[in-house]
C-alpha cells in the first residue's frame, strides 16, 4: 500500500521529456541541433534551461542574442508558471517529446514577463509561497520562519533537493489540531478557452457541517461549466501533475500532497482527449 509520503516524492520527481528547437528565423553562424532535456514538472523554465541557452548561443553571434524566450505551437510560454502546468494545459494531448521552440529575438512584451535573472524567479516563487500561506494560515507560519528557512525552500527547489525543501515545507502543511484543515485552499484553475488567466477564489476545505470538501465540490462551486454536462458525457479532463484525480478526493488531501512547491494546486482543465 503506497504511503501518502510517496506521493510527495512522485510529484517532486516528475519529469517531461522535451525537445528544444531553435526558431528558424534566428540568425545562426552554424547549424543548431535540437537539444533534448528532461524538465522537472515542479520547476520553472528559466531556472532549468541554462544548458539550452548555452547550446544555442554557441551557434549564434553574440550580438544576435538577447533575452531567451520559449514558445509552443505559437503560444509564448510564461516562465512564471510551473513547467508541469504549462505542459498539462497546452500539450498533454500531444505525443512526447514536448516540442518547444527557442527564441532570442522579438520578445513578446505584451504576453510575457521579463526574467532578468534567477533572482526574479526566486522573488516570484517566494511571492507565491507567501500568498499561499496568507490563504492557509493568515501568513502566520511563513512570517514566523526565519530568512534562512525561506532561503532553504528556494535552494531546495533550485537544486532539486526534496529533503532540503520538505524539511521546511512540512511546517506549511500543518494546521491547528482543533481545525480539520487549512483556513482556505490555495488553488488556481486554468483553461485555455477563457480570456482570464486563471480562476482563484476563497474556498474552505471543510464545510460548515464538518464534512471535507472534495475536488468535485470545488469545481461545482467555482467552475461549474467545466465539469460534466447534463448529458453525462465528460467534456473535460481535470488534471494536476499529469493525472486526473478522482473528483471525490478531499481537497485538503490534495492541497497537502499534490500542491506544487509554491504550495498552490495548479489545476488544468483541458478538453477530453480522443485517444
Amino acid at each position: 500500500m503506497t504511503d501518502d509520503k510517496d506521493v510527495l516524492r512522485d510529484v517532486w520527481f516528475g519529469r517531461i521529456p522535451t525537445c528544444f528547437t531553435l526558431y528558424q528565423d534566428e540568425i545562426t553562424e552554424r547549424e543548431a541541433e535540437p537539444y533534448y532535456l528532461l524538465l522537472p514538472r515542479v520547476s520553472y523554465l528559466t531556472l532549468v534551461t541554462d544548458k539550452v541557452k548555452k547550446h544555442f548561443q554557441k551557434a549564434m553571434r553574440q550580438e544576435d542574442v538577447s533575452e531567451i524566450w520559449f514558445e509552443y505551437e505559437g503560444t509564448p510560454l510564461k516562465w512564471h508558471y510551473p513547467i508541469g502546468l504549462l505542459f498539462d494545459l497546452l500539450a498533454s494531448s500531444s505525443a512526447l517529446p514536448w516540442n518547444i521552440t527557442v527564441h532570442f529575438k522579438s520578445f513578446p512584451e505584451k504576453d510575457l514577463l521579463h526574467c532578468p535573472s534567477k533572482d526574479a524567479v526566486e522573488a516570484h516563487f517566494m511571492s507565491c509561497m507567501k500568498e499561499a500561506d496568507a490563504l492557509k494560515h493568515k501568513s502566520q507560519v511563513i512570517n514566523e520562519m526565519q530568512k534562512k528557512d525561506h532561503k532553504q525552500l528556494w535552494m531546495g527547489l533550485q537544486n532539486d533537493r526534496f529533503d532540503q525543501f520538505w524539511a521546511i515545507n512540512r511546517k506549511l502543511m500543518e494546521y491547528p489540531p482543533e481545525e480539520n484543515g487549512f483556513r482556505y485552499i490555495p488553488f488556481r484553475i486554468y483553461q485555455t478557452t477563457t480570456e482570464r488567466p486563471f480562476i482563484q477564489k476563497l474556498f474552505r476545505p471543510v464545510a460548515a457541517d464538518g464534512q471535507l470538501h472534495t475536488l468535485g465540490d470545488l469545481l461545482k462551486e467555482v467552475c461549474p461549466s467545466a465539469v460534466t454536462a447534463e448529458d453525462g458525457e465528460k467534456k473535460n479532463q481535470v488534471m494536476i501533475h499529469g493525472i486526473e484525480p478522482m473528483l471525490e478526493t478531499p481537497l485538503q488531501w490534495l492541497s497537502e500532497h499534490l500542491s506544487y512547491p509554491d504550495n498552490f494546486l495548479h489545476i488544468s482543465i483541458v478538453p477530453q482527449s480522443t485517444d
Partner: protein, 239 residues
C-alpha cells in the same frame, strides 16, 4: 465568506462610491467587469508629457512632468510657450492604473503600467524616475502630514519587509489576474497593517471613511497617481 476585514463585496461597494465622485469631478475612473465572471476592477488611464531636455528655468528639475487627465487636454498645452520650446524633445507617456481585489490578502492591490503611445512599455526605473518629483511635491503639501508620516513608515515597511529577496524590490512585474498581461504592482502583503493604522483615527471620531479613497491616497502618489482633495470631502458628506 465576508468575516474578514475587507471582503470583496465591501471592495466593490467602496469602488462604486469612489467612481461616483470621480464622475462628478471628471477624474476618469471607471469600473471594468471581467468577461466571464461577476467580479471586476477599477481603472484609470492618464497621459503625461515627459520632457527629456533641461528647461531654461533655473531650479527646474531636468525631467518635468505635466500631468493631464485626458488625451484631449493635450491640445491645451500648445498655448504654453515653455512647453512649445521643448515639444520636439518631449514624449507622451500613457499610464494605466488598475485597482484589483486580492482574495488571498483580502485587500485592494494597485496594478500599473506605462507605455509610449506607440505601445513600447516603460521600464520600472523610468516610471520611478518620473514619479519622484510628484512624490516629493506631495510630501511637502500639507495638510497631509499625518498621512505622509504614515506613508513614510509604509515605504519603510515595504523596504524592510523583504517581500521579495531582492532588496528594495518595491514593486514587482507580475501578471494582471484578470487581463493576463504584465503589470507592475505595489505588493499587497502589508496593506492590512498600515490600513488598520490609517482607519483607526477617523473611526474613533465616527467619521465615515471610504477604504478605497484612503488606501489610494496613500499608495497612489508613490506611482504618480494623485487624488484631488474633494474625494475626502465627498466621503464625509455621503452618510
Amino acid at each position: 465568506m465576508e468575516d474578514e476585514f475587507f471582503g470583496e463585496k465591501s471592495f466593490q461597494h467602496y469602488c462604486a462610491e469612489f467612481i461616483k465622485h470621480s464622475q462628478q469631478i471628471g477624474d476618469g475612473w471607471e469600473w471594468k467587469t471581467a468577461k466571464d465572471c461577476s467580479d471586476g476592477y477599477m481603472c484609470k488611464t492618464q497621459f503625461q508629457i515627459k520632457n527629456g531636455t533641461t528647461t531654461s528655468h533655473r531650479g527646474t528639475p531636468a525631467s518635468v512632468h505635466t500631468c493631464l487627465p485626458t488625451e484631449e487636454n493635450l491640445e491645451l498645452t500648445v498655448d504654453d510657450s515653455e512647453v512649445m520650446e521643448s515639444a520636439a524633445a518631449s514624449q507622451v507617456i500613457k499610464y494605466e492604473y488598475h485597482v484589483v481585489y486580492s482574495c488571498s490578502y483580502q485587500v485592494p492591490v494597485l496594478y500599473f503600467r506605462a507605455s509610449f503611445l506607440d505601445g513600447r512599455p516603460l521600464a520600472l526605473k523610468d516610471i520611478w524616475e518620473g514619479v519622484h518629483e510628484c512624490y516629493k511635491t506631495r510630501l511637502l503639501q500639507g495638510p497631509w502630514d499625518t498621512i505622509t508620516q504614515q506613508w513614510r513608515t509604509c515605504l519603510g515597511l515595504f523596504h524592510s519587509v523583504g517581500c521579495a529577496p531582492v532588496p528594495a524590490l518595491l514593486r514587482e512585474l507580475i501578471e494582471h489576474p484578470i487581463l493576463g498581461q504584465p503589470f507592475f504592482v505595489l505588493h499587497p502583503c502589508k496593506t492590512n497593517e498600515f490600513m488598520t493604522a490609517v482607519l483607526k483615527n477617523p473611526q474613533k471620531i465616527n467619521r465615515n471613511v471610504n477604504y478605497i479613497t484612503s488606501w489610494l491616497s496613500i499608495m497612489g502618489p508613490v506611482v504618480g497617481l494623485n487624488l484631488p482633495l474633494s474625494y475626502a470631502k465627498a466621503t464625509s458628506q455621503d452618510e
